[in-house]
């Protein structure tokens, strides 16, 4: 017994068989030609932040815990080594931490919507307007199991990293790490702050 569906396919196929096969062969060859030599992709980040390496060790006796808010409501909190970082006062809900030598700065600001959008947006702005190179991007988890989207930018006026995570529905924080050296942003002190973030 012949199936009507097979008849339809047969009629369609016979109608276009030879020229279509030639066209597909041409396209296959063309695809092979254009698909080679693709530009280099960004390094992809994954896994966890880890404890960081280098810099001063964290002093457990000097840990300060800060609340994080958005629109007056609590989002969560983070901690830092008060013997290494000091807090610069701001007029809004952002938190600015700097080390005493001024070589590392962390800016924490509330965000809304999906977390990776502002992170990638800020990084793209710096790449477009200030000549930074985009080095790496991806998702990493902190010690609390929170997933952060991270984007690393290479030498412009300095080195910058953006970390974004959602703490409540549609609300979260963006942490912008700024330093004159890329290594300073991977130290134990910085990773201690990242690993301390929790809802």
């Amino acid at each position: 017994m012949k199936l009507p569906g097979l008849n339809i396919l047969t009629v369609l196929f016979r109608a276009v068989r030879r020229p279509l096969l030639r066209a597909l062969l041409l396209l296959w060859v063309a695809w092979g030609a254009v698909a080679c030599g693709q530009p280099k992709a960004l390094e992809e980040l994954d896994g966890t932040f880890g404890a960081g390496s280098g810099g001063s060790p964290v002093n457990p006796g000097a840990v300060v815990t800060l609340p994080l808010t958005s629109g007056g409501s609590a989002l969560g909190g983070l901690s830092y080594d008060g013997a290494y970082f000091f807090q610069i006062p701001t007029s809004d809900e952002s938190v600015v931490l700097s080390d005493s030598s001024g070589s590392v700065m962390l800016i924490v600001a509330p965000i809304s919507g999906r977390a990776d959008t502002p992170c990638r947006f800020q990084a793209a702005l710096l790449a477009r307007d200030r000549g930074y190179a985009l080095l790496a991007a991806g998702d990493r988890k902190n010690a609390q199991g929170l997933e952060f989207h991270e984007v690393d930018l290479g030498p412009g006026a300095d080195f910058q990293r953006f970390y974004c995570t959602e703490l409540k529905s549609h609300l979260g924080i963006l942490i912008n790490g700024v330093s004159n050296s890329g290594n300073n942003l991977g130290t134990e002190q910085v990773h201690f702050v990242l690993n301390s973030v929790q809802p």
């Binding site: 369609l12 254009v34 502002p118 702005l125 307007d129 549609h170 700024v178």
Partner: protein
């Protein structure tokens, strides 16, 4: 070490954190509107080049027979021909879709065409589209008709690019869900050689307020324009000239489609911008089967001149890049496409397809373009290049197009309907 500032509200989901400024300073030698005043020698050179280009264009237009007979009279198309097929579509910069598309022409000999699509992305863009369109609904006067489109669109993970000439090859994810309607009364005269239209769009969805809460949001948009089409066919032209101009217009706050709510961060307040797009295409036949299509496009955007933000007025249609890759206040595009026809003329009358398969068409194309925040010579410097090949299935008044293009950012794969120009 530089201390970063936090200016307000740059983009959809970034409620409070902008840590980079927006626009590079204007080059010297420009007036307050950012337009360079050319010197006398430069003006002479510009006039000479423009004159040469105009002469070349006229010569090509003469070769293309500026007022050719129509190969096919659109208003005399046979009634009730249709196509209902599962289809794959690839729209670089948006996603790769799997779905069902339906198309029916001249329903009941009324002149009305209908199209419908149900599609879902099969890549990581997580987009679903449900769309229905009616075209050529006759109104009271001959040549005066109405088009209406309605769609429900869910963007789960759309990837967009920053506007600007120096925009990095780095995408920003966007999530949204909305309904959109489009109403377009239009006048088409002289076998559709002259088309004048007004388009009214209405967007209805959600956006985030300043507290980060989702809130209902709706907004009108409007545009208008005209097309002069002196070609031998509307759908698959092979000789002649086509010119079109389109401009954004002030939109009403309420209409029969709905009523505006507040302004949006997600799509920006576009009411204070005026974008105009100009397009000229010359179709030049070389032989019975081989012809070329040469397309020139430019767009200009005025408004918000004092803003530090880069204005995404228009975007380049370069096929070697994802859609929306290059956008800015001003833009220029030029494309040349060679098309070789393989006629078939086979009548198909089976359950899902009824109509004439006119043939296949092979194409090779090369395109250049650039965007710029200013209307000056930089617009034609350091042009982006794109080239590729393609094949098209010509089914009745429908062109199914498959293009493979490449640029310095890699290859792109297009599977869609209608010619690029």
């Amino acid at each position: 070490m530089r201390v970063l500032t936090i200016p307000p509200e740059p983009h959809a989901n970034t409620a409070n954190a902008t840590m980079a400024s927006q626009q590079p300073p204007a080059p010297s030698g420009q007036n307050a509107r950012g337009v360079r005043r050319p010197g006398r020698r430069r003006r002479k050179l510009a006039a000479l080049l423009s004159g040469t280009a105009a002469l070349l264009m006229m010569a090509m237009a003469a070769r293309a027979e500026p007022w050719p007979e129509r190969r096919r009279i659109y208003d005399e198309r046979p009634p009730n021909e249709y196509l209902l097929i599962p289809a794959i579509a690839s729209l670089p910069g948006t996603g790769v879709f799997l779905g069902i598309i339906g198309s029916a022409s001249n329903l009941g000999d009324s002149g009305i065409d209908m199209g419908a699509a149900l599609a879902k992305s099969i890549d990581n863009s997580d987009i679903t589209v449900q769309a229905l369109a009616f075209q050529n609904i006759p109104l009271f006067l001959k040549g005066f008709q109405l088009d209406y489109q309605v769609a429900h669109i869910k963007l789960g993970n759309l990837q967009i690019f920053l506007p600007g000439r120096n925009s990095p090859n780095f995408t920003i994810p966007v999530t949204a869900e909305f309904d959109v309607q489009f109403l377009m009364p239009n006048l088409q005269l002289f076998e559709r050689r002259l088309q004048v239209y007004y388009g009214l769009g209405f967007f209805e969805g959600y956006d985030f307020d300043s507290q980060g809460n989702e809130a209902p949001f709706s907004r009108h948009s409007a545009n208008g324009g005209f097309t002069l089409d002196f070609t031998d066919d509307l759908v698959d032209p092979r000789r002649g000239v086509r010119f079109g101009m389109r401009t954004s217009l002030h939109a009403p706050r309420r209409s029969l489609l709905g009523r505006n709510t507040r302004t949006s961060n997600l799509f920006g307040n576009e009411e204070d911008l005026r974008t105009r797009q100009y397009q000229l295409t010359v179709y030049i036949p070389f032989s019975e089967r081989l012809h070329a299509a040469w397309n020139q496009q430019a767009f200009t955007t005025h408004g918000r001149e004092n803003s530090e933000q880069i204005v995404p007025g228009g975007e380049l249609p370069l096929r070697g890049y994802p859609g929306g890759r290059w956008s800015d206040r001003f833009g220029y595009f030029s494309g040349l496409e060679l098309r070789y026809d393989h006629p078939m003329n086979r009548k198909l009358d089976i359950v899902v397809v009824r109509g004439v398969l006119e043939g296949l068409q092979y194409a090779a194309f090369y395109e250049v373009g650039q965007v710029n925040p200013l209307w000056n010579r930089s617009l034609v410097k350091d042009l982006h290049h794109s080239s590729g090949v393609g094949v098209r299935v010509l089914f009745q008044a429908l062109v199914l197009r498959l293009d493979i293009a490449r640029s310095d950012e890699g290859p792109q794969f297009h599977l869609t309907i209608n010619h690029a120009f």
